[in-house]
Symmetry: C3
Subunit: 305 residues, 3 copies
């Protein structure tokens, strides 16, 4: 499959074949890290982060460097030309002149799409507001597949803030390509949006909505997200729910062999005592961002097929 010059803006732009192809290529990449260490020699990646995201930026920078490519960074565009009144379109068009590929994060929904429309080099969306963060979803799928040996047939639970959580929306959407069962564990205030649930219904994906982890039943994966205080109009509502969606050592009895994932950073959703359990795979999950992003960079730059 030739993905040269493709923009990676939204997981919704991808067919199941695209996703499967990227997962397969990422697996090969992980096995051949050393062999590919000069694959992108001579290429320059610009990271253009209009809001900070250390781990996503580092992960892309590490991926590019592991391939022999180079990285230049605009960490705070507001400090510079943007402050002088430059439009987003002009900023990305200018950065295009110095780069072969752009990885971009922006607080506004649709910013990455707009950027892709005005430049000729590939754009990879590293998060546009509450909207999309497709490379996170790809590394999540890669992690599930690698840790469980498959995706089809799995029961996958998601817990925490499913109303505002970009990662879980995107992951649920992508999982609809597979034969999975979903379980949503949330307080009343933070339920999965009806738009996503409608989408799942149309795709024939069964899901259960429950309010406590004790009702989880058999699950292969538990994807935990942070509950952010600022999401609650009334702080008192936050105080009510904040403690009840935590993974504690005693929770492991309920979870059985379920693999625990988390997009990180965590605050206190998962007790550090869990880290050494065989359920905990969230740091390995972060590491999987490297081969997945190495693969995406190589594909859109046309150095891998």
């Amino acid at each position: 499959m030739n993905m040269k010059n493709r923009d990676i803006i939204s997981i919704r732009d991808m067919t199941k074949e695209d996703i499967e192809y990227i997962l397969k290529k990422s697996e090969e990449m992980e096995k051949n890290m050393k062999k590919n260490k000069n694959l992108l020699n001579g290429y320059v990646l610009s990271t253009l982060f209009f809001e900070p995201s250390t781990r996503t930026r580092l992960s892309f920078e590490s991926a590019m460097n592991k391939l022999g490519g180079r990285v230049i960074s605009v960490a705070q565009p507001k400090a510079s030309s943007v402050a002088k009144g430059e439009t987003l379109a002009d900023t990305v068009k200018t950065v295009e002149q110095y780069s072969d590929v752009i990885v971009m994060r922006h607080p506004n929904e649709g910013a990455a799409r707009l950027a892709a429309d005005v430049v000729d080099i590939p754009i990879i969306n590293a998060g546009d507001g509450a909207n999309q963060h497709p490379t996170q979803t790809l590394l999540d799928l890669y992690t599930i597949n690698k840790e469980c040996g498959k995706i089809d047939g799995l029961s996958i639970a998601m817990m925490g803030d499913l109303k505002y959580g970009r990662t879980v929306h995107s992951l649920a959407t992508a999982l609809a390509y597979y034969n999975v069962k979903l379980i949503f564990i949330t307080p009343e205030e933070l339920k999965m949006p009806s738009e996503i649930k409608k989408y799942l219904k149309n795709k024939g994906i069964p899901y259960r909505e429950i309010s406590g982890i004790d009702e989880i039943g058999k699950a292969d994966v538990l994807y935990v997200t942070r509950i952010q205080k600022e999401r609650f109009p009334d702080p008192a509502d936050y105080e009510k729910v904040k403690g009840i969606y935590k993974i504690l050592p005693e929770t492991l009895d309920i979870l059985g062999n379920a693999k625990i994932m988390h997009p990180l950073p965590r605050v206190d959703e998962i007790s550090p005592e869990i880290d050494k359990s065989k359920n905990a795979i969230y740091f390995r999950q972060a590491r999987n961002g490297i081969p997945v992003r190495m693969t995406l960079l190589s594909l859109v730059l046309g150095e891998m097929e």
Copy 2:
């Protein structure tokens, strides 16, 4: 020509032969980007920016990386040693210990010259206050030569803030080496300084000063600059002129084939509708910074002759 260890501080330090040589070498560089991708392997460039300038910094970083060299950056010297009371001389002498070449921007006139006096490695001035920004001038000349096929014989108009605009002062000075006609389009408050005009007269360069673009007549190039509000002691004066030096679609009828240049960022001096016209060359102009800066780095590091 051997430029090893030369500092690039001011366009006024350069002979016509220097400039011509750099333009010729930049042309060769642009044709051989891939071939030179390991030319500066093992060299370290330090960028030392005492005020932000994203595009200049990125352009140098991309240039160094495209040659296989490495870049280390001091983005906000004020956050660190300078805050502890260190002198500029000490800062650059310390950075010298870690580097093979320094690219530096500073708000004070003469800062780059001072730096060059205290260190032994080459210094490239990336802007010292309102004074000099020689690599911008070289990429401007390169762009004119590339787009028009020559510099001699051209009519070159400059529009906007010619009083405070560092780029146009420097460009006009350099163009005095060539057989050109100049046209200055400004409001009364922002005319080209008499010092520059005297210099042009001495060099026998004819120029016209006009107040509106409709009087431009035949021109090969129109170099547009931003009019900054903060330049006007009385804000009311700014309000009077701010709109009348804009390139709108209807302006193209007046311009004929004139190539439109701009050092970027633009605010609203050039309507985005112009971007797709064949007159608009400002994004290509930005891109030309790469081969020109690749050439300068290679020359002062002694890896090109």
Copy 3:
């Protein structure tokens, strides 16, 4: 000696053999800079600086780049995940996923040790509060050895703030491995802590405490440190001492051939007129950080033995 995967946290963790080995290897490294320019190709260093330290960071970045390795940087962790409430342990464990080695600076004593305990890749401490900065000590020892041809048998004076100065504590501790005489020149308020003096006594290292440089007698090295105003509870006390520990041209008569060192940045402890004297070796001292850090990186990554 195999130092693969060793953490470099404190000079106190090192035996004399470790130190001698690192100094010998650094000497070889300095002679073979070019030969080693691809030694760390494929490796990624993360610099994780919780407080700014431009020169230490640049020195490590330059060292890694001179070896063909790559650097990714978290310059202000507070701007990102840490702000979201992430623990230090989680931050370093996440950065570990993207890196082969971490260089870290943190305002809190013991932070580097904590980091080393939670990650599997090597951690190099680039300063943890007032505690340790072992690579500075190693480059100081390297400098003394290189400039004086030996360490054993030397008289080494330290002047300025010996109470709070991390560098001089660490250096005095390391020098206790050698057969040296120490001289401490300080105001009453800033004397070397009794803990360090007790340590020296136990090791049989003779030292003198004096209050003025005129009593220095014969010394081979004078290590000068900055006196920081903020160290004095009463600003009046600072005013009393601030001027009297300065190296002025006339001081050279007292110093004879003593080599003057300083960890930099200096404020006005050493007059710039001294810079050209043959006594002044502080900028060369800074430069010595490159081969020493190149060596440490190569050793802990297992690419040198």
